[in-house]
Symmetry: C2
Subunit: 352 residues, 2 copies
DNA sequence: CTGAAAGCGCTTACAG
DNA sequence: CTGAAAGCGCTTACAG
């Protein structure tokens, strides 16, 4: 019950260095206006005492606001995937608000690179202290983060990565390995024919992300010397009618497809198609814990969903900026999310 | 950049109520010595202003230490499962230490109920403000938590539950459903014979926990009208020799077992046996992300591991006490952990 | 280059 | 039953 830790604070440092606490504060925060001599003296004492600043006191005393910007896709009618990261962001915000952190969210339209650029420009004008973004448009994101880097604004990627940038960190899936897991799950109900389809439903079917996933997917079959034939179906129009049309054609050409792997969360539209066309013989694997997907999972039309904890991505992304800007502690450059496997049986307890 | 929130604190409440902040403080903390009249006046203002106390300031000003006790199994040579919850506990402790929380851990021996009772008695003497425990011995735990309840010490269960107690909350798996998932995973490589074995390796093979898991396991086959025959193997001596001996006997009696489901983390000893006896035809499912288990998973001897985030259980368990004792916010009575499915392919990114 | 003093929003004796 | 004052460990103008 007694307080064992003989805690040393700025006061004790000041006493030992024969200076005022204001000077100690200057040294702690690397502010200018301290002679090299006293600076060294104070730093030595800090080291000796293994001084740990009290963030509570620090944030309480400082009325400085730290403002962060979020740049993510708007939730569309097509998919509410981005609700989950937003939920994580909101949760993190609630936790760090009391430390004087303020968050502003900017939404762009996944179908419009222009909207991304517009919002990015707004952020640049806003003099934020840090940025969290989903770099859905790679080249546009590159330009934007270069500007951030010039302004010394730290930025964090979630959901997908842009390699070789000066980002504070990346928080999201290891896409190749995720595709690899998808392949494994696709093999469970394979029979003699061994034909599977990779289905891409997206305006940008050859974006870096999808290519990574597909590469992982194909590698699994190679690594295991499986005779499986892999066909690829690209569906650029994401509405359900187009999906049904394109799938009808593909399955007509390849009658003996036994499994379909959808590379993103739009697997529900494939499930709906399979249901309508009574093709429950085909096993179906896709992404993300969306209400629609879970419904098809429970109906047995989707066999597996893979999920990368989108909510946690948002949460951790914001906390990484907080760590950097408020606590000043180091942040790991890459944080891969788990590749969670969701089935009908375990879905009820899944945590995004 | 500007501070938008017009924040009202005790000072403003005091001003409006025409009292001192000391009196406001008394009302906020429900301390005695305030007339009903002023109490009501202050409470009304608090409601009107939607006053949210600033925990930073509160913990900074208060030099009160909150001491918590942990009662969990010691890590044994047989299994290092309990390292994970401990890691979570340590992480939570680091986070809340600055709020004046102090944690003391008491270890008991999973093979000795006596050691549990001894440690429990020590905790009762220690005047702790809260307790986190793994109720491995149900009856002994019942007695202990009754004593806690009498002393008004809140307590939290992790890993397994003791129903109908006055616990603050339970954080752990839904055991029935976990067995259900285990059953599903056991069916993947089933062929014509359809015979599976449930293997219990524990001193207490009919503890409540294992029974729950087994019930879930059996229910899956019933629910799906599968003709599967389920045999049960109880192994009371947990060393590898005994396991090998008992398994040899069981597999001799039942030559056509196609899958083995081990109800706890000791699946590695079954894997070792299968490896030695070259029975890679048998598919193997078990529990927990232990080094040894992962090794066998990677060798292909274990097909699936189920995991309930033991580290998170420890973390959340401690945070629940913190929530109750420091923040005073409500805590959910039951928090089921996800039932995670781990394979060779996704294990590298698993988060305990 | 340095320091004295006020203040952040609370809690805690102490006095009445 | 109530209040004045000191203090928690910092930061922030301001003065020199």
């Amino acid at each position: 019950m007694e307080k064992e830790n003989t805690y040393y604070g700025v006061k004790e440092i000041a006493r030992r260095a024969n200076v005022s606490i204001a000077t100690v504060d200057r040294v702690i925060h690397n502010r200018s206006g301290v002679s090299e001599k006293t600076k060294k003296k104070i730093n030595d004492i800090i080291k000796e005492l293994d001084y740990q600043p009290n963030i509570l006191a620090s944030r309480l005393a400082s009325r400085k606001i730290i403002s962060l910007a979020i740049l993510i896709p708007r939730v569309s009618e097509e998919t509410d995937f981005w609700e989950a990261p937003m939920k994580g962001i909101t949760r993190a915000e609630a936790e760090i608000r009391k430390y004087g952190v303020q968050v502003t969210t900017f939404y762009f339209d996944l179908n419009s690179q222009e909207s991304f650029n517009e919002q990015a420009a707004l952020i640049l004008e806003g003099h934020f202290h840090g940025v969290l973004l989903a770099p859905s448009f790679i080249e546009a994101s590159r330009k934007f983060v270069h500007a951030c880097h010039k302004l010394k604004i730290p930025f964090v990627f979630i959901d997908s990565d842009v390699p070789d940038e000066h980002n504070l960190c990346y928080i999201g899936p290891h896409l190749f390995q995720s595709g690899y897991v998808g392949a494994k799950l696709s093999t469970y109900r394979l029979k003699e024919k061994h034909k599977v389809a990779v289905v891409n439903i997206s305006k940008e079917t050859d974006s870096y992300n999808y290519l990574q996933i597909e590469e992982g997917f194909r590698s699994y079959f190679k690594d295991h010397d499986l005779p499986t034939e892999i066909i690829r179906v690209d569906i650029k129009d994401t509405d359900s009618l187009s999906v049904a049309r394109d799938l009808t054609r593909a399955l007509h050409e390849h009658e003996d497809v036994e499994a379909i792997f959808v590379t993103n969360s739009r697997v529900f539209s494939v499930a709906a198609f399979l249901k309508k066309s009574k093709r429950t013989d085909i096993s179906l694997i896709g992404y993300d814990y969306l209400k629609e997907n879970i419904s098809f999972l429970n109906q047995g039309l989707i066999d597996f969903l893979i999920c990368h904890k989108p909510e946690e991505q948002g949460y951790r992304g914001l906390m990484a900026l907080y760590q950097r800007l408020v606590l000043g502690t180091p942040v790991e450059k890459t944080h891969f999310m788990p590749i969670d496997i969701i089935t009908k049986e375990n879905q009820a307890f899944y945590q995004n």
